[in-house]
Subunit: 201 residues, 2 copies
Amino acid sequence: MPARGDHDARRREVSEAVWRVLARDGFGGLTLRAVAAEMGASTGLLTHYFPTKRALVRHALEITQERTVIRNRRAGVADGLAALRSALLDVLPLTPRATAMNRVWVSFWDAALADPELGASEAARYARWRAKLRPHVEAAQRLGELPAKADPDDIVTITAAFTHGLVVQALFDPDRFPPARQTSLLEQFLAGLPTHPAIGD
Amino acid sequence: MPARGDHDARRREVSEAVWRVLARDGFGGLTLRAVAAEMGASTGLLTHYFPTKRALVRHALEITQERTVIRNRRAGVADGLAALRSALLDVLPLTPRATAMNRVWVSFWDAALADPELGASEAARYARWRAKLRPHVEAAQRLGELPAKADPDDIVTITAAFTHGLVVQALFDPDRFPPARQTSLLEQFLAGLPTHPAIGD
DNA sequence: TGACGTACATAACAAACGTTTGGTACGTAC
DNA sequence: GTACGTACCAAACGTTTGTTATGTACGTCA
């Protein structure tokens, strides 16, 4: 029986159960009963803390995003291209934890494509991700690791595209994309980056 | 009332209705009643041609793949890097039709991640896509457009990753990614490709 | 013309869904 | 001790789901 003030903690517990069900069964398998069973509780508990399933899902995704932010903060030691590499390595499904995280997001895309509100929140998440990568690209430009005349937004977008595209391929074929292969592909991609903006020259 | 022998044609009609519902409402909104309403029929018609929903979905996805193959065949005029560019342009959501196609596939990822059988078929689809791109990369290597010593599989995988990653970003933020921006980003990516394999030198 | 299989519509089915309701246990306030 | 709000559980609500059963219209073959 949680003491007074544990309300938010309980909500977080519920959200983590949501997250676990989502990673295992996808969005199509996310039901209130499955979440309740996951945490050994009843559906009454869920509706006590969240008025509707939609609110529950929204909160669970906010929690996940928050967790991502925390993780990225840890990697803020390097600079320029090295920092970019580090940030991308954090996203790739190199560990079971990162794999689960990516499964949740990719599953979420189904609901996000069909629901305008969720779709907008996903677009915003992409914008935040690019905004987080951009300083590293700009630092790399200042350090001479990337051409200064290139549009940093384009570089960031291309990099994000490559990374998520690799995420999806790796999720569906883990045998073909073990961690070593993923990092190797990322390295090859990064090696080609300096030439991309040559078009504008 | 279709004449004898129209059985397969009717199945295709049903599959196209499935495809339309999928593009509009995603996998989560795909119900037999929605499909029936989409083609102005009853659920009895659906079960008459497909024993189960699963079979219906499977056939619909096969149809979509077949359509993709047909479309790619049309673009087999160029060679090398130009052919690669053409094949990638065919995938990007530059038209409403291509947008719908991509929405279906991205939505499908939710179900495919949760269901091993569907996941395997998606992995196979990726393998087929890469196999279709590889000849163009190898031709580009023979033509001197790409370094001959590079591993064509790596180049193909990186290229597929970038393309699908761009697809997802464009689906969620069409305003930020109009056709011109997508093609520009693809062009910048392709310009950087020749340097990628420099790592092996 | 009658028998028969195909091509559906209509309607019912049990199961599962999100949500609501009623009740119990318990800490806190007075 | 009584009153009260919080924290749940258990059960039921009406709806929607995939699936099945029943019935009918129609072309085909004998």
